[in-house]
Symmetry: D2
Subunit: 341 residues, 4 copies
């Protein structure tokens, strides 16, 4: 029985607590949140959480706890990672580890020589659709990948306040797609070119960000990838991907609430894609934690280690530079500046 | 070069004239219609028809003409068939040959000992979807057929005047599905049970007919078939079929004008099925005539001979009796009474 | 907090225990099974079950327990229902209550004058697809229902031993579809006609049963319904439905594990329908228990009461008679004989 | 009755002759080809062509002929255009007018002050799918366009001999997509960035060309467009497009020969996209000629004038430069150099 601590009981922390409640080989001993209140504490108890607290250091100090889930605000991911590693806890860290590569390097450094299992929370790899797609590609069903296409559009833009602290669309939203393109291609990107615009809400532009983008990537295996992003899709959360190769094409499309189709005078109408990311990816969130628990239990590598957390950040920085300088940017250019390998 | 005469230049006669215009191995020498007028004559000329007339006997008397298409009103199908056979012409006869089995028997009798090629106009067998379905079944791709389902719904009911002379829904509309079920099963029906209702328009009921039906058939190969009919589908002309067998299922669905799909706040909407049977089956009409011409050219059997014209009429009569007597009716019961087989 | 007892910890009992573990307003106090063993007991404990036993009477005798789930073998459903009602427990009873209408009548009798909430386990009503379909129909989106079609095909036939005690396909398998047709039509059936066959496995025929059927129903609202069943679909568990009405058509199709589609030299291939009914309907099983708990909690009617358990049995008996006597059978004929209504 | 001359009776010339045979308001008086032979002449006759010749100048000299179709080899498009304009004939010219902008400018110059109708053969605009998509976008059904995606993949690469004289993939193949993106966006492109590769056949690379590309475009209306190309799709001719906008998304997908879907042990398999471009776009070829004839008949603008022929060539040149210099290239950069605008 793996004992876990959950740091941060906001939206995503709650999702993970619910997921762990369904596992037979793991339980949450302690959930911590600086804003812990009675309501959350009671809910946590009903989910089998033994103990709640306002101070995550209780978790780190508890010798019974094997691993921690860092679900607190983005700016705390890397410092708490460092503390948790120091305390000898296995770490599941929500994405991104940090927007600052130096801080990720500190985490990498801290992990060296330890037996700590570190997993970063790119949940989409555990989604039934993307998992099936990756498996089909890895199994060679479409031959050698040549063109990879990812469509990733949010149903609605975040608040302008959030936009301002988000690190920009590429590090906040596209970062998931950067991970996905690595997952599907089975290799890293070499170069990125961004064509982006501010079309959804002028306030996003005023905040210095973009909301619409088409991002072209050259992958190390020779494939060309393209990601298209929008911060607002009127029909819901649009999450599709397609891999084209020498023997054919594999593609996955959106999930909807039901298969209901109505044929009437206006046409033949099916349901919209699911709107809310938590609904869309609920099963994926459960599966990523199951994978983390299994990595601890069996003392084996997590499916998404700290380098899988680093690479999409480098890609995000390259994308940002491409946008600003309006030219293709090699990932190497960023890694060298950041003093990476 | 096969020379043809077209008898009847209404809607369907025109379709066939257009189809023949695209053939390289056939042409229409004469088109006849009691209501032939200048406009039609001119149109016919532009379609390469050499000659037009008010009297179809000119066609029968013309030694240059190899075959005739009988596209006149239903009540004339069998008498003109007899005349044409007597005149030594190959015959393409629109469905049904007759509602009266005795008259079909006369046609069968007249054909005996001749070298005349006779084809009946069940156009749907030549439709790209139904043809692909039949081929898949005949090739054994779904194993032994066990359940055959046909959905056949008209976009809107015919006029009440037409309903009154139509012979009833089973002989007028379902007759196509009776042919289709024979085509897909590759054998004849043994027994029919009808559950029908008058739900679309009370005037249809007042005229003694039904407009909605589910018809169950036991086929000679052991498969069970079911046809569902409606005289009015709000979303267009609904023409689907599915064959389920020991190794799987093969199904075909509707054609629409384009593959356009719009995703919006209301859902994900594709186009309706095509509305009009002439539009839906235009290519099938062309292909059936091509097959007729090829049968003449190569002196071989037509794909749909006079017995293929007879059987669906027997099925329609059985269906009608099942409806009136509210019990399953064996086809044999009808054939014996009609002195067949 | 509603306290429940689960009687029978076979496949379906376990599913319900898992479902209840995710509820915040209910828990399983005791799980009983004559074959209770250590392994099951341990599993139950991990699922939050407080106590396990070999004797279900412990549950009935426990004043703390509000309601019971009867998940034991079919022959025990009605006797344990009677005991549970006598003990004042709310009852969730797996389908069917009994194959013998007299015994169902005893349950109805026993419920009279009590405040006991009784729910029968027709899980499919809680499936996301069928629920969406029923809602669309009930909301009038397709107008007045005219033709209802249900396709229900199992992936593989049960063992011959099971077939022999199953009560026949209509009471064992089609019973779900009889419930579904009532759910979708929003009314009862008046008459049933069966065309059935033994095509899948001759041993099923030798056991006196059929494995393939097309069942036509006349509904009280005038609609015609048709169910097609097979005990073996090579491509998985086939669960579809379509309701056609005056304004259009609503249809639901199968669920698959993912939306993966592979385009290659052989065609464009998507995933098969999910194979296993527990996988396919897992969420529905959870939702039906949630509904049962809510009925207890709020002292309101269950969504599927004892009469909803009775009606499909009457339909099954009518279907069986139609099959044996090869004629349409009115439900009234059966109910009168059984002294109902 | 519009009288036409067809110059070049290769594959595409034949398609147009067949199309014209079905028109009531036009006919082919003369078909010319330097390699005219008996077989072609006979075939032409059967298609209603009055006269065949080896010398296209006969067509230009014939005062009865209203317009010509230039279906000869690419290098002759612009010189014959000039001759035809000089001869006062309306011109339908297959794409591209020329790879050399100077020569297109000569055609533009020659047209000035004349009443000649000039149409360039970008057939895809007349395809039922793309036409429906464009209409939906133009009608505002998806709001303001923001992201336009075109997938255009050939089933198999052309011969290396053809590759060498093709002008490169961008001018030979992508040129259709450049036209399509203008059609869908309703405006011109401002800037192009190419990421391309030689993945399909090394011989294509040796010939100095690429066979795989992702091309990003900034459109004048602010939308971002992306085209992905491959010279070889194992599953057929892949021709799709999607326009995403402020109110939703409109998309069109491939046509297949039938709607047949087979569900079996391996999955649920539909037909591949049609393989051959002539089959896929047959109706579009007919419709573009119908539009040309109507433009002549009604003395109105053709739907695709000489500038619509010029712009995609400029885009192709920009794409080529982007590929060679590995940077985004503004269309303006090319036009200025070519002395346009």
């Amino acid at each position: 029985m793996i004992k876990l601590g959950v740091i941060g009981t906001g939206r995503i922390g709650k999702v993970h607590i619910e997921g762990i409640a369904q596992l037979q080989n793991a339980s949450v001993k302690t959930a911590a949140d600086p804003f812990m209140n009675e309501q959350t504490a009671e809910w946590a108890k009903s989910m089998g959480v033994e103990h709640t607290t306002g101070d995550y250091r209780e978790i780190l100090a508890d010798p019974e706890i094997d691993g921690v889930l860092i679900c607190s605000s983005t700016d705390t991911h890397s410092p708490i990672s460092l503390e948790a590693i120091k305390a000898g806890k296995h770490v599941f860290c929500e994405k991104p580890i940090d927007h600052d590569v130096k801080k990720i390097k500190e985490v990498i450094q801290a992990l060296k020589g330890t037996k700590i299992r570190y997993q970063v929370g790119f949940n989409r790899r555990f989604d039934h659709n993307f998992e099936a797609l990756q498996k089909a590609v890895a199994a060679g069903r479409i031959g050698k990948p040549e063109i990879i296409k990812i469509t990733s559009r949010d149903p609605e833009p975040p608040s302008i306040d959030y936009v301002k602290v988000s690190g920009g669309m590429f590090l906040d939203m596209t970062i998931h797609d950067f991970d996905m393109v690595r997952f599907l291609a089975g290799c890293d990107a070499e170069e990125i070119y961004v064509q982006s615009a501010n079309l959804v809400d002028p306030k996003i532009g005023e905040a210095g960000d973009v909301d619409t983008a088409v991002i072209t990537l050259k992958m190390e295996n020779g494939a060309i990838a393209v990601i298209d992003n929008s911060r607002r899709a009127a029909y819901g959360y649009d999450q599709r991907a397609e891999v084209f190769g020498s023997l054919g094409m594999a593609a996955v499309s959106n999930d909807s609430d039901s298969s209901l189709v109505i044929s009437g005078g206006e046409g033949v109408t099916g349901e919209k894609p699911q709107f809310f990311f938590l609904e869309r990816y609920m099963e994926a969130y459960k599966k990523e934690i199951r994978a983390f628990v299994e990595a601890i239990e069996n003392d084996r590598e997590t499916p998404l280690d700290v380098y899988d957390g680093l690479k999409p950040v480098l890609m995000g920085l390259a994308a940002d530079r491409s946008r600003r300088e309006h030219r293709p940017v090699r990932i190497e250019e960023i890694s060298k500046e950041e003093g990476i390998g």
